[in-house]
Protein backbone atom coordinates (compact mmCIF):
# COMPACT_ATOMS: atom_id res chain seq x y z
CA UNK A 1 0.00 0.00 0.00
CA UNK A 2 2.93 2.29 0.68
CA UNK A 3 4.54 1.67 -2.74
CA UNK A 4 3.96 3.99 -5.63
CA UNK A 5 5.03 3.13 -9.16
CA UNK A 6 5.52 6.11 -11.46
CA UNK A 7 4.92 4.92 -15.03
CA UNK A 8 5.67 7.19 -18.01
CA UNK A 9 2.96 6.58 -20.64
CA UNK A 10 3.40 6.83 -24.39
CA UNK A 11 6.55 8.92 -24.13
CA UNK A 12 8.63 10.59 -21.47
CA UNK A 13 7.10 13.91 -20.53
CA UNK A 14 9.25 16.63 -21.99
CA UNK A 15 11.33 18.58 -19.48
CA UNK A 16 9.91 16.75 -16.46
CA UNK A 17 12.52 15.37 -14.13
CA UNK A 18 10.99 12.12 -12.95
CA UNK A 19 13.62 11.77 -10.23
CA UNK A 20 12.64 15.16 -8.87
CA UNK A 21 8.96 14.15 -8.96
CA UNK A 22 9.73 10.91 -7.12
CA UNK A 23 11.53 12.79 -4.31
CA UNK A 24 8.76 15.40 -4.21
CA UNK A 25 6.06 12.77 -3.70
CA UNK A 26 8.13 11.07 -1.01
CA UNK A 27 8.48 14.38 0.83
CA UNK A 28 4.70 14.88 0.94
CA UNK A 29 3.53 11.29 1.39
CA UNK A 30 5.04 8.60 3.67
CA UNK A 31 5.59 6.28 0.72
CA UNK A 32 8.36 4.73 -1.37
CA UNK A 33 8.31 5.70 -5.05
CA UNK A 34 9.82 3.77 -7.94
CA UNK A 35 10.02 4.77 -11.57
CA UNK A 36 9.01 1.94 -13.90
CA UNK A 37 9.97 2.18 -17.54
CA UNK A 38 7.28 -0.21 -18.84
CA UNK A 39 6.42 -0.04 -22.53
CA UNK A 40 2.64 0.43 -22.33
CA UNK A 41 0.53 0.76 -25.41
CA UNK A 42 -2.07 3.49 -24.89
CA UNK A 43 -2.92 4.05 -28.56
CA UNK A 44 -6.31 2.35 -28.12
CA UNK A 45 -7.20 5.21 -25.77
CA UNK A 46 -6.53 7.74 -28.53
CA UNK A 47 -9.54 9.53 -30.00
CA UNK A 48 -8.56 10.71 -33.46
CA UNK A 49 -11.46 13.15 -33.78
CA UNK A 50 -10.54 14.92 -30.56
CA UNK A 51 -6.78 14.27 -30.85
CA UNK A 52 -6.77 13.49 -27.13
CA UNK A 53 -6.42 10.37 -24.98
CA UNK A 54 -9.37 8.98 -23.02
CA UNK A 55 -8.09 8.96 -19.44
CA UNK A 56 -10.62 6.38 -18.19
CA UNK A 57 -9.37 3.86 -20.79
CA UNK A 58 -5.77 4.58 -19.78
CA UNK A 59 -6.61 3.75 -16.17
CA UNK A 60 -7.96 0.39 -17.33
CA UNK A 61 -4.79 -0.26 -19.40
CA UNK A 62 -2.61 0.53 -16.42
CA UNK A 63 -4.22 -2.25 -14.42
CA UNK A 64 -4.33 -4.77 -17.28
CA UNK A 65 -0.92 -4.32 -18.82
CA UNK A 66 1.38 -4.18 -15.82
CA UNK A 67 2.44 -7.09 -13.67
CA UNK A 68 2.75 -4.81 -10.65
CA UNK A 69 0.31 -6.35 -8.24
CA UNK A 70 0.86 -4.13 -5.21
CA UNK A 71 0.83 -0.41 -4.48
CA UNK A 72 -0.44 2.56 -6.44
CA UNK A 73 0.15 2.97 -10.19
CA UNK A 74 0.65 6.58 -11.22
CA UNK A 75 0.74 7.16 -14.98
CA UNK A 76 2.32 10.36 -16.30
CA UNK A 77 1.93 11.38 -19.92
CA UNK A 78 2.80 14.34 -22.12
CA UNK A 79 -0.44 13.84 -24.10
CA UNK A 80 -3.69 15.74 -23.55
CA UNK A 81 -6.35 13.77 -21.67
CA UNK A 82 -10.15 13.86 -21.80
CA UNK A 83 -13.26 12.17 -20.52
CA UNK A 84 -16.15 12.12 -23.03
CA UNK A 85 -18.27 14.88 -21.60
CA UNK A 86 -15.44 17.31 -20.79
CA UNK A 87 -13.11 19.23 -23.10
CA UNK A 88 -10.08 18.02 -21.14
CA UNK A 89 -8.95 16.77 -17.76
CA UNK A 90 -5.64 17.41 -16.00
CA UNK A 91 -5.81 13.91 -14.58
CA UNK A 92 -8.06 11.15 -13.34
CA UNK A 93 -7.91 8.63 -10.54
CA UNK A 94 -9.92 5.74 -9.19
CA UNK A 95 -11.13 6.81 -5.76
CA UNK A 96 -10.00 4.31 -3.11
CA UNK A 97 -8.33 2.20 -5.76
CA UNK A 98 -4.91 1.63 -7.30
CA UNK A 99 -4.63 3.70 -10.44
CA UNK A 100 -4.20 7.34 -11.34
CA UNK A 101 -3.04 9.19 -14.42
CA UNK A 102 -2.24 12.80 -15.18
CA UNK A 103 -0.98 14.82 -18.10
CA UNK A 104 1.74 17.47 -18.33
CA UNK A 105 0.21 18.75 -21.60
CA UNK A 106 -1.52 21.75 -19.99
CA UNK A 107 1.01 22.25 -17.19
CA UNK A 108 3.61 23.94 -19.41
CA UNK A 109 3.69 27.73 -19.34
CA UNK A 110 4.18 27.66 -23.12
CA UNK A 111 0.68 26.15 -23.54
CA UNK A 112 -0.67 29.48 -22.33
CA UNK A 113 1.72 31.58 -24.42
CA UNK A 114 4.01 32.31 -21.49
CA UNK A 115 7.80 31.87 -21.23
CA UNK A 116 8.98 28.41 -20.31
CA UNK A 117 9.65 27.82 -16.61
CA UNK A 118 11.16 24.57 -15.41
CA UNK A 119 10.49 25.48 -11.81
CA UNK A 120 6.77 26.17 -12.36
CA UNK A 121 6.36 22.99 -14.41
CA UNK A 122 8.02 20.88 -11.70
CA UNK A 123 5.74 22.36 -9.01
CA UNK A 124 2.56 21.86 -11.08
CA UNK A 125 3.61 18.29 -11.89
CA UNK A 126 4.14 17.50 -8.21
CA UNK A 127 0.78 19.02 -7.19
CA UNK A 128 -1.13 17.10 -9.87
CA UNK A 129 0.62 13.83 -8.97
CA UNK A 130 -0.10 14.25 -5.25
CA UNK A 131 -3.70 15.34 -5.97
CA UNK A 132 -4.50 12.23 -8.05
CA UNK A 133 -2.72 9.96 -5.54
CA UNK A 134 -4.86 11.58 -2.80
CA UNK A 135 -7.95 10.34 -4.62
CA UNK A 136 -6.55 6.79 -4.69
CA UNK A 137 -6.31 7.00 -0.89
CA UNK A 138 -9.99 7.89 -0.65
CA UNK A 139 -9.79 11.69 -0.49
CA UNK A 140 -12.43 13.81 -2.22
CA UNK A 141 -12.00 17.42 -3.31
CA UNK A 142 -11.31 19.58 -0.30
CA UNK A 143 -13.21 22.86 0.13
CA UNK A 144 -12.68 25.86 2.32
CA UNK A 145 -9.04 25.28 3.26
CA UNK A 146 -5.77 25.59 1.32
CA UNK A 147 -5.02 21.97 0.37
CA UNK A 148 -3.54 20.05 -2.54
CA UNK A 149 -6.96 18.34 -2.79
CA UNK A 150 -8.68 21.60 -3.82
CA UNK A 151 -10.40 21.11 -7.17
CA UNK A 152 -8.58 22.63 -10.18
CA UNK A 153 -10.29 23.49 -13.42
CA UNK A 154 -7.75 26.15 -14.47
CA UNK A 155 -3.96 25.93 -14.30
CA UNK A 156 -4.11 28.99 -12.04
CA UNK A 157 -6.07 26.88 -9.54
CA UNK A 158 -3.10 24.50 -9.45
CA UNK A 159 -0.67 27.37 -8.89
CA UNK A 160 -2.78 28.75 -6.05
CA UNK A 161 -3.04 25.60 -3.99
CA UNK A 162 -0.20 24.26 -1.83
CA UNK A 163 1.58 21.00 -2.69
CA UNK A 164 0.64 19.55 0.70
CA UNK A 165 -2.52 18.36 2.48
CA UNK A 166 -4.55 20.33 4.99
CA UNK A 167 -4.80 18.90 8.50
CA UNK A 168 -8.11 16.99 8.09
CA UNK A 169 -6.96 15.44 4.78
CA UNK A 170 -3.58 14.55 6.27
CA UNK A 171 -5.33 12.98 9.25
CA UNK A 172 -7.34 10.82 6.85
CA UNK A 173 -4.16 9.82 4.99
CA UNK A 174 -2.43 8.84 8.21
CA UNK A 175 -5.37 6.60 9.04
CA UNK A 176 -5.09 4.68 5.75
CA UNK A 177 -1.32 4.67 5.28
Amino acid sequence: MRDISIIPLGAHPRDVLLIELKHGIERVLPVECTIHEIPLDIETAFDSSRRQYHSTLILAHLLQQTDLTAGRLLGITPFDLFVPVLTFVFGQAQVNNRTAVFSTFRLHNEFYGLPQSQEILAMRTLKEAVHELGHTYGLRHCQGRPCVMNSSTYVEDIDLKPPDFCLPCRTHLQSVL
Binding site: R50, T56, V83, V85, L86, S151, T153
Partner: protein, 452 residues
Protein backbone atom coordinates in the same frame (compact mmCIF):
# COMPACT_ATOMS: atom_id res chain seq x y z
CA UNK B 1 -23.15 28.86 -0.01
CA UNK B 2 -20.25 29.70 2.25
CA UNK B 3 -20.23 26.49 4.28
CA UNK B 4 -22.36 24.08 2.30
CA UNK B 5 -21.74 20.39 2.45
CA UNK B 6 -21.77 18.74 -1.01
CA UNK B 7 -22.99 15.51 0.56
CA UNK B 8 -26.32 17.30 1.17
CA UNK B 9 -26.82 17.79 -2.59
CA UNK B 10 -28.01 14.97 -4.86
CA UNK B 11 -27.17 15.23 -8.56
CA UNK B 12 -28.85 12.92 -11.07
CA UNK B 13 -27.11 12.38 -14.42
CA UNK B 14 -29.48 11.33 -17.20
CA UNK B 15 -27.68 10.25 -20.37
CA UNK B 16 -27.90 7.18 -22.58
CA UNK B 17 -24.12 7.07 -23.11
CA UNK B 18 -22.47 5.04 -20.33
CA UNK B 19 -19.13 6.85 -20.74
CA UNK B 20 -20.81 10.24 -20.17
CA UNK B 21 -22.66 8.99 -17.10
CA UNK B 22 -19.51 7.47 -15.68
CA UNK B 23 -17.25 10.44 -16.32
CA UNK B 24 -19.73 12.98 -14.95
CA UNK B 25 -20.44 10.76 -11.96
CA UNK B 26 -16.72 10.43 -11.22
CA UNK B 27 -16.20 14.18 -11.67
CA UNK B 28 -18.91 15.13 -9.19
CA UNK B 29 -18.19 12.29 -6.78
CA UNK B 30 -14.72 13.78 -6.41
CA UNK B 31 -16.44 16.94 -5.18
CA UNK B 32 -18.40 14.91 -2.63
CA UNK B 33 -21.90 15.20 -4.16
CA UNK B 34 -24.37 12.32 -3.93
CA UNK B 35 -24.75 10.94 -7.45
CA UNK B 36 -27.55 9.04 -9.16
CA UNK B 37 -27.40 7.96 -12.79
CA UNK B 38 -30.16 7.08 -15.23
CA UNK B 39 -29.81 5.84 -18.80
CA UNK B 40 -33.32 6.82 -19.89
CA UNK B 41 -36.40 8.81 -18.88
CA UNK B 42 -38.11 5.88 -17.18
CA UNK B 43 -35.14 5.24 -14.93
CA UNK B 44 -34.88 8.96 -14.16
CA UNK B 45 -38.56 9.17 -13.16
CA UNK B 46 -38.11 6.09 -11.00
CA UNK B 47 -35.22 7.82 -9.16
CA UNK B 48 -37.36 10.93 -8.72
CA UNK B 49 -39.95 8.80 -6.91
CA UNK B 50 -37.47 7.21 -4.56
CA UNK B 51 -34.99 10.04 -3.89
CA UNK B 52 -34.91 13.75 -3.30
CA UNK B 53 -33.00 15.00 -6.33
CA UNK B 54 -31.64 18.57 -6.24
CA UNK B 55 -29.93 18.92 -9.63
CA UNK B 56 -30.48 17.01 -12.88
CA UNK B 57 -27.86 17.02 -15.64
CA UNK B 58 -30.00 16.06 -18.60
CA UNK B 59 -29.10 14.94 -22.10
CA UNK B 60 -31.60 15.83 -24.83
CA UNK B 61 -31.17 13.04 -27.36
CA UNK B 62 -32.11 9.74 -25.78
CA UNK B 63 -34.00 6.71 -27.06
CA UNK B 64 -37.67 6.77 -26.04
CA UNK B 65 -38.72 9.93 -24.22
CA UNK B 66 -36.17 12.64 -25.02
CA UNK B 67 -34.69 15.10 -22.54
CA UNK B 68 -37.08 17.97 -23.30
CA UNK B 69 -40.14 15.74 -22.91
CA UNK B 70 -38.69 14.38 -19.68
CA UNK B 71 -38.16 17.92 -18.42
CA UNK B 72 -41.84 18.72 -19.11
CA UNK B 73 -42.89 15.56 -17.32
CA UNK B 74 -40.73 16.34 -14.27
CA UNK B 75 -42.04 19.91 -14.11
CA UNK B 76 -45.59 18.53 -13.77
CA UNK B 77 -44.82 17.30 -10.27
CA UNK B 78 -41.59 19.04 -9.25
CA UNK B 79 -41.00 22.73 -9.90
CA UNK B 80 -37.98 23.08 -7.62
CA UNK B 81 -35.43 20.60 -8.99
CA UNK B 82 -32.74 22.37 -11.01
CA UNK B 83 -32.35 21.02 -14.54
CA UNK B 84 -29.19 21.67 -16.54
CA UNK B 85 -29.30 20.52 -20.15
CA UNK B 86 -26.06 19.07 -21.53
CA UNK B 87 -26.36 18.07 -25.15
CA UNK B 88 -24.08 17.13 -28.03
CA UNK B 89 -26.62 18.34 -30.59
CA UNK B 90 -27.11 21.96 -29.69
CA UNK B 91 -29.43 24.15 -31.68
CA UNK B 92 -30.81 27.55 -30.82
CA UNK B 93 -34.31 26.11 -31.04
CA UNK B 94 -33.73 23.37 -28.47
CA UNK B 95 -31.89 25.78 -26.18
CA UNK B 96 -34.78 28.25 -26.27
CA UNK B 97 -37.34 25.50 -25.75
CA UNK B 98 -35.41 24.06 -22.82
CA UNK B 99 -34.95 27.41 -21.09
CA UNK B 100 -38.59 28.43 -21.69
CA UNK B 101 -39.69 25.14 -20.16
CA UNK B 102 -37.77 25.98 -17.00
CA UNK B 103 -34.25 24.66 -17.49
CA UNK B 104 -31.74 26.41 -15.23
CA UNK B 105 -29.01 26.41 -17.86
CA UNK B 106 -27.94 24.83 -21.12
CA UNK B 107 -24.52 23.75 -22.34
CA UNK B 108 -22.97 21.61 -25.02
CA UNK B 109 -20.79 18.51 -24.91
CA UNK B 110 -17.91 18.43 -24.48
CA UNK B 111 -18.17 21.02 -21.74
CA UNK B 112 -15.25 22.95 -20.32
CA UNK B 113 -14.49 21.70 -16.79
CA UNK B 114 -14.53 25.24 -15.45
CA UNK B 115 -17.90 25.99 -17.07
CA UNK B 116 -19.36 22.81 -15.62
CA UNK B 117 -18.08 23.69 -12.15
CA UNK B 118 -19.59 27.17 -12.47
CA UNK B 119 -22.96 25.81 -13.62
CA UNK B 120 -23.20 23.47 -10.69
CA UNK B 121 -21.91 26.04 -8.19
CA UNK B 122 -24.62 28.47 -9.36
CA UNK B 123 -27.23 25.73 -9.07
CA UNK B 124 -26.03 24.88 -5.56
CA UNK B 125 -26.22 28.54 -4.57
CA UNK B 126 -29.81 28.65 -5.79
CA UNK B 127 -30.60 25.52 -3.78
CA UNK B 128 -29.02 27.09 -0.70
CA UNK B 129 -31.18 30.19 -1.11
CA UNK B 130 -34.30 28.06 -1.70
CA UNK B 131 -33.59 26.08 1.47
CA UNK B 132 -32.84 29.21 3.48
CA UNK B 133 -36.01 30.84 2.19
CA UNK B 134 -38.06 27.78 3.12
CA UNK B 135 -36.52 27.66 6.61
CA UNK B 136 -37.25 31.35 7.17
CA UNK B 137 -40.84 30.96 5.97
CA UNK B 138 -41.28 27.98 8.25
CA UNK B 139 -39.98 29.96 11.19
CA UNK B 140 -42.36 32.82 10.33
CA UNK B 141 -45.24 30.35 10.02
CA UNK B 142 -44.47 29.07 13.50
CA UNK B 143 -44.93 32.56 14.95
CA UNK B 144 -48.63 32.35 15.64
CA UNK B 145 -48.94 35.72 17.31
CA UNK B 146 -52.66 35.33 17.95
CA UNK B 147 -52.00 32.38 20.21
CA UNK B 148 -49.18 34.23 21.92
CA UNK B 149 -51.46 37.04 23.06
CA UNK B 150 -52.37 36.39 26.65
CA UNK B 151 -55.95 36.77 27.74
CA UNK B 152 -58.60 34.25 28.65
CA UNK B 153 -61.28 36.78 29.51
CA UNK B 154 -64.34 36.87 27.29
CA UNK B 155 -63.45 40.45 26.26
CA UNK B 156 -59.99 39.44 25.08
CA UNK B 157 -61.21 36.28 23.38
CA UNK B 158 -63.60 38.47 21.42
CA UNK B 159 -60.67 40.65 20.33
CA UNK B 160 -58.66 37.62 19.24
CA UNK B 161 -61.63 36.25 17.32
CA UNK B 162 -61.83 39.57 15.46
CA UNK B 163 -58.09 39.39 14.71
CA UNK B 164 -58.53 35.92 13.25
CA UNK B 165 -61.44 37.13 11.13
CA UNK B 166 -59.81 40.24 9.74
CA UNK B 167 -56.24 38.94 9.31
CA UNK B 168 -56.73 36.89 6.12
CA UNK B 169 -58.65 39.70 4.42
CA UNK B 170 -56.79 42.68 3.02
CA UNK B 171 -59.09 45.22 4.70
CA UNK B 172 -57.81 48.23 6.58
CA UNK B 173 -58.16 47.85 10.33
CA UNK B 174 -58.51 50.43 13.06
CA UNK B 175 -57.41 49.42 16.52
CA UNK B 176 -58.82 51.41 19.40
CA UNK B 177 -57.61 51.21 22.96
CA UNK B 178 -56.10 53.14 25.80
CA UNK B 179 -52.38 53.63 26.01
CA UNK B 180 -50.58 50.44 26.99
CA UNK B 181 -53.31 48.00 25.99
CA UNK B 182 -51.16 46.38 23.29
CA UNK B 183 -52.40 47.94 20.07
CA UNK B 184 -49.12 47.24 18.25
CA UNK B 185 -49.23 43.61 19.40
CA UNK B 186 -52.68 43.25 17.84
CA UNK B 187 -51.47 44.94 14.64
CA UNK B 188 -48.55 42.51 14.55
CA UNK B 189 -50.93 39.58 15.06
CA UNK B 190 -53.08 40.73 12.14
CA UNK B 191 -49.99 41.08 9.94
CA UNK B 192 -48.46 37.75 10.96
CA UNK B 193 -51.67 35.90 10.19
CA UNK B 194 -52.20 37.55 6.81
CA UNK B 195 -50.86 36.60 3.40
CA UNK B 196 -48.47 39.53 3.76
CA UNK B 197 -46.57 37.92 6.66
CA UNK B 198 -43.42 37.24 4.60
CA UNK B 199 -43.17 40.96 3.86
CA UNK B 200 -42.38 43.75 6.32
CA UNK B 201 -44.57 45.25 8.99
CA UNK B 202 -43.57 48.89 9.24
CA UNK B 203 -44.74 50.64 12.41
CA UNK B 204 -44.91 54.44 12.42
CA UNK B 205 -45.71 56.33 15.60
CA UNK B 206 -47.32 59.42 14.13
CA UNK B 207 -47.35 61.13 17.51
CA UNK B 208 -43.60 60.77 18.01
CA UNK B 209 -42.55 62.35 14.70
CA UNK B 210 -42.56 66.14 14.47
CA UNK B 211 -44.98 67.48 11.87
CA UNK B 212 -42.11 68.97 9.84
CA UNK B 213 -40.47 65.55 9.42
CA UNK B 214 -43.55 63.41 8.99
CA UNK B 215 -43.91 63.87 5.24
CA UNK B 216 -40.31 62.88 4.61
CA UNK B 217 -40.64 59.98 7.05
CA UNK B 218 -43.75 58.62 5.31
CA UNK B 219 -42.92 59.29 1.67
CA UNK B 220 -39.12 59.53 1.61
CA UNK B 221 -37.15 62.12 -0.28
CA UNK B 222 -34.78 62.51 -3.19
CA UNK B 223 -31.20 63.68 -2.78
CA UNK B 224 -31.14 67.46 -2.49
CA UNK B 225 -34.90 67.73 -1.89
CA UNK B 226 -34.22 70.00 1.07
CA UNK B 227 -31.28 71.20 3.14
CA UNK B 228 -29.70 68.17 4.74
CA UNK B 229 -31.15 65.65 2.25
CA UNK B 230 -27.74 64.29 1.26
CA UNK B 231 -29.04 60.95 0.06
CA UNK B 232 -32.19 59.54 -1.44
CA UNK B 233 -34.20 57.94 1.34
CA UNK B 234 -37.10 55.54 1.17
CA UNK B 235 -40.16 56.45 3.18
CA UNK B 236 -42.20 54.14 5.40
CA UNK B 237 -44.81 53.52 2.70
CA UNK B 238 -42.15 52.38 0.27
CA UNK B 239 -40.55 50.20 2.94
CA UNK B 240 -43.87 48.48 3.56
CA UNK B 241 -44.05 47.30 -0.09
CA UNK B 242 -45.97 44.02 -0.11
CA UNK B 243 -46.48 44.16 3.65
CA UNK B 244 -48.34 46.20 6.22
CA UNK B 245 -47.93 49.76 7.44
CA UNK B 246 -49.05 50.38 11.02
CA UNK B 247 -49.84 54.01 11.78
CA UNK B 248 -50.02 54.39 15.54
CA UNK B 249 -51.53 57.48 17.17
CA UNK B 250 -53.25 58.37 13.89
CA UNK B 251 -55.36 60.91 15.79
CA UNK B 252 -52.34 63.19 16.20
CA UNK B 253 -51.93 63.77 12.43
CA UNK B 254 -52.30 67.36 11.29
CA UNK B 255 -54.97 68.17 8.70
CA UNK B 256 -52.23 68.64 6.10
CA UNK B 257 -50.78 65.18 6.78
CA UNK B 258 -54.30 63.72 6.71
CA UNK B 259 -54.72 65.02 3.14
CA UNK B 260 -51.40 63.45 2.10
CA UNK B 261 -52.35 60.18 3.73
CA UNK B 262 -55.79 60.14 2.13
CA UNK B 263 -54.23 60.59 -1.30
CA UNK B 264 -51.85 57.66 -0.92
CA UNK B 265 -54.65 55.48 0.45
CA UNK B 266 -56.82 56.24 -2.55
CA UNK B 267 -54.22 56.04 -5.31
CA UNK B 268 -51.69 53.61 -3.77
CA UNK B 269 -48.99 55.81 -5.25
CA UNK B 270 -47.06 58.91 -4.26
CA UNK B 271 -43.99 61.00 -5.05
CA UNK B 272 -40.93 61.18 -2.87
CA UNK B 273 -40.27 64.73 -1.67
CA UNK B 274 -38.36 66.46 -4.45
CA UNK B 275 -39.04 63.54 -6.79
CA UNK B 276 -40.88 63.44 -10.08
CA UNK B 277 -41.28 59.70 -10.45
CA UNK B 278 -44.49 58.13 -9.20
CA UNK B 279 -43.81 55.33 -6.74
CA UNK B 280 -46.46 52.62 -6.67
CA UNK B 281 -46.94 50.70 -3.44
CA UNK B 282 -48.90 47.67 -2.39
CA UNK B 283 -49.57 47.71 1.34
CA UNK B 284 -52.20 46.98 3.92
CA UNK B 285 -53.09 49.72 6.36
CA UNK B 286 -53.59 49.24 10.07
CA UNK B 287 -54.16 52.33 12.23
CA UNK B 288 -54.42 52.73 15.96
CA UNK B 289 -55.45 55.50 18.27
CA UNK B 290 -56.38 56.11 21.87
CA UNK B 291 -58.54 59.12 21.10
CA UNK B 292 -62.17 59.09 20.05
CA UNK B 293 -61.92 59.76 16.32
CA UNK B 294 -65.65 60.37 15.97
CA UNK B 295 -65.34 63.26 18.43
CA UNK B 296 -62.31 64.50 16.52
CA UNK B 297 -64.31 64.41 13.27
CA UNK B 298 -67.15 66.34 14.91
CA UNK B 299 -64.66 68.89 16.22
CA UNK B 300 -63.22 69.30 12.71
CA UNK B 301 -59.77 68.03 13.71
CA UNK B 302 -59.98 64.80 11.75
CA UNK B 303 -61.18 64.47 8.16
CA UNK B 304 -64.37 62.52 7.84
CA UNK B 305 -63.37 60.95 4.49
CA UNK B 306 -60.10 59.70 6.01
CA UNK B 307 -61.96 58.38 9.04
CA UNK B 308 -64.25 56.25 6.87
CA UNK B 309 -61.34 55.03 4.79
CA UNK B 310 -59.32 53.77 7.75
CA UNK B 311 -62.32 52.59 9.77
CA UNK B 312 -63.23 49.54 7.68
CA UNK B 313 -62.86 47.04 10.50
CA UNK B 314 -62.58 48.22 14.09
CA UNK B 315 -61.08 46.28 16.95
CA UNK B 316 -61.44 47.76 20.40
CA UNK B 317 -59.02 46.46 23.00
CA UNK B 318 -60.57 46.68 26.46
CA UNK B 319 -58.50 48.36 29.18
CA UNK B 320 -56.97 46.03 31.73
CA UNK B 321 -59.40 47.11 34.48
CA UNK B 322 -62.23 45.74 32.35
CA UNK B 323 -60.65 42.34 32.02
CA UNK B 324 -59.34 41.72 35.50
CA UNK B 325 -59.55 37.90 35.15
CA UNK B 326 -56.54 38.17 32.81
CA UNK B 327 -54.35 39.88 35.44
CA UNK B 328 -53.06 36.71 37.22
CA UNK B 329 -52.20 35.09 33.90
CA UNK B 330 -50.44 38.19 32.61
CA UNK B 331 -48.67 38.74 35.94
CA UNK B 332 -47.21 35.23 36.00
CA UNK B 333 -46.20 35.53 32.36
CA UNK B 334 -44.34 38.81 32.96
CA UNK B 335 -42.64 37.52 36.12
CA UNK B 336 -41.43 34.45 34.25
CA UNK B 337 -40.27 36.50 31.25
CA UNK B 338 -38.30 39.04 33.28
CA UNK B 339 -36.86 36.49 35.71
CA UNK B 340 -35.60 34.46 32.74
CA UNK B 341 -34.16 37.57 31.06
CA UNK B 342 -32.38 38.51 34.29
CA UNK B 343 -31.31 34.89 34.89
CA UNK B 344 -33.02 34.96 38.27
CA UNK B 345 -35.07 32.25 39.92
CA UNK B 346 -38.70 32.87 39.04
CA UNK B 347 -40.38 34.20 42.19
CA UNK B 348 -43.94 33.33 43.21
CA UNK B 349 -46.49 36.11 43.56
CA UNK B 350 -47.89 36.14 47.11
CA UNK B 351 -51.67 36.14 47.57
CA UNK B 352 -51.48 39.63 49.11
CA UNK B 353 -49.46 40.98 46.15
CA UNK B 354 -51.89 39.38 43.71
CA UNK B 355 -54.79 41.02 45.56
CA UNK B 356 -53.08 44.38 45.10
CA UNK B 357 -52.58 43.67 41.39
CA UNK B 358 -56.22 42.62 41.02
CA UNK B 359 -57.65 45.68 42.74
CA UNK B 360 -55.42 48.30 41.11
CA UNK B 361 -57.03 50.21 38.23
CA UNK B 362 -54.01 50.09 35.91
CA UNK B 363 -54.40 53.39 34.07
CA UNK B 364 -51.26 52.46 32.12
CA UNK B 365 -52.83 49.09 31.30
CA UNK B 366 -50.76 46.00 30.42
CA UNK B 367 -47.64 48.10 29.91
CA UNK B 368 -47.93 49.45 33.44
CA UNK B 369 -48.53 45.95 34.80
CA UNK B 370 -45.44 44.69 33.02
CA UNK B 371 -43.31 47.57 34.29
CA UNK B 372 -44.55 47.01 37.84
CA UNK B 373 -43.67 43.33 37.71
CA UNK B 374 -40.31 43.90 36.03
CA UNK B 375 -39.47 46.27 38.87
CA UNK B 376 -40.72 43.72 41.40
CA UNK B 377 -38.48 41.02 39.91
CA UNK B 378 -35.50 43.42 40.05
CA UNK B 379 -35.91 44.41 43.69
CA UNK B 380 -37.25 41.10 44.96
CA UNK B 381 -34.72 39.41 47.26
CA UNK B 382 -36.49 36.21 48.20
CA UNK B 383 -38.57 33.82 46.21
CA UNK B 384 -41.94 35.49 46.77
CA UNK B 385 -43.13 38.85 45.43
CA UNK B 386 -44.82 40.76 48.28
CA UNK B 387 -46.97 43.93 48.10
CA UNK B 388 -43.98 46.02 49.17
CA UNK B 389 -42.09 44.86 46.04
CA UNK B 390 -44.70 46.56 43.89
CA UNK B 391 -44.36 50.24 42.94
CA UNK B 392 -45.65 52.49 45.74
CA UNK B 393 -48.56 53.84 43.80
CA UNK B 394 -49.93 50.43 42.94
CA UNK B 395 -52.57 49.60 45.50
CA UNK B 396 -52.39 53.03 47.05
CA UNK B 397 -54.44 54.61 44.34
CA UNK B 398 -57.41 52.38 44.89
CA UNK B 399 -57.41 53.28 48.57
CA UNK B 400 -57.56 57.02 47.97
CA UNK B 401 -60.12 59.05 46.05
CA UNK B 402 -60.11 58.04 42.38
CA UNK B 403 -59.12 60.66 39.84
CA UNK B 404 -62.01 61.69 37.69
CA UNK B 405 -60.50 61.94 34.20
CA UNK B 406 -57.92 60.00 32.18
CA UNK B 407 -55.68 63.07 32.08
CA UNK B 408 -55.71 63.29 35.86
CA UNK B 409 -54.95 59.60 36.17
CA UNK B 410 -52.03 60.03 33.80
CA UNK B 411 -50.76 63.07 35.67
CA UNK B 412 -50.94 61.22 39.01
CA UNK B 413 -49.27 58.20 37.57
CA UNK B 414 -46.41 60.18 36.04
CA UNK B 415 -45.92 62.08 39.30
CA UNK B 416 -45.72 58.83 41.28
CA UNK B 417 -43.33 57.23 38.81
CA UNK B 418 -41.07 60.30 38.81
CA UNK B 419 -41.07 60.36 42.58
CA UNK B 420 -40.27 56.63 42.73
CA UNK B 421 -37.35 57.11 40.38
CA UNK B 422 -36.10 60.23 42.15
CA UNK B 423 -36.95 62.24 39.02
CA UNK B 424 -34.60 60.21 36.84
CA UNK B 425 -36.19 61.03 33.47
CA UNK B 426 -34.62 58.21 31.43
CA UNK B 427 -35.56 55.49 33.90
CA UNK B 428 -39.08 56.85 34.40
CA UNK B 429 -39.64 57.12 30.65
CA UNK B 430 -38.42 53.56 30.18
CA UNK B 431 -40.74 52.25 32.90
CA UNK B 432 -43.65 54.19 31.44
CA UNK B 433 -42.84 52.79 28.04
CA UNK B 434 -42.56 56.21 26.42
CA UNK B 435 -39.61 58.18 25.12
CA UNK B 436 -37.92 60.97 27.06
CA UNK B 437 -39.25 63.75 24.83
CA UNK B 438 -42.82 62.58 25.41
CA UNK B 439 -42.18 62.48 29.15
CA UNK B 440 -40.78 66.01 29.14
CA UNK B 441 -43.82 67.17 27.16
CA UNK B 442 -46.17 65.57 29.66
CA UNK B 443 -44.26 67.06 32.62
CA UNK B 444 -44.68 70.46 31.04
CA UNK B 445 -48.30 69.82 30.07
CA UNK B 446 -49.26 68.82 33.62
CA UNK B 447 -47.03 71.44 35.23
CA UNK B 448 -45.21 68.83 37.31
CA UNK B 449 -42.35 70.22 39.41
CA UNK B 450 -39.48 68.44 41.03
CA UNK B 451 -39.80 68.75 44.85
CA UNK B 452 -37.24 71.17 46.27
Amino acid sequence: MSAFNPSEITIMIVDDEPSVRESLAAWFEDDGYVILTAQNAAEALQHMQNHTVDIILLDIKMPGMDGLALQDRIREFNTEVIIIIITAFATVDTAVRALKAGAFDYTTKPVDPDELSHLVRNAVEKIRLQRENRALRDSIDQLQFVDDIIGESAEMQKVLEMVRNVAPTDSSALILGESGTGKELIARAIHMNSRRRYFPLIPVNCGAIPESLLESELFGHEKGAFTGAQYRRKGKFEMSQGGTIFLDEIGTLSLKSQVDLLRVLEDREFHRIGGERTVKVDFRLICATNVNLEDEVKAGRFREDLYYRINVFTITIPPLRERRPDIPLLARYFVERHATAMTKVEPEISTEAMDVLLTHDWPGNVRELENALERAVVINKGDVIKPEDLPVQVGRETAGPRSSSLAEVEKDHIRHMLSDNNWNISRTAEQLGIDRVTLYNKIEKYGLKRPA
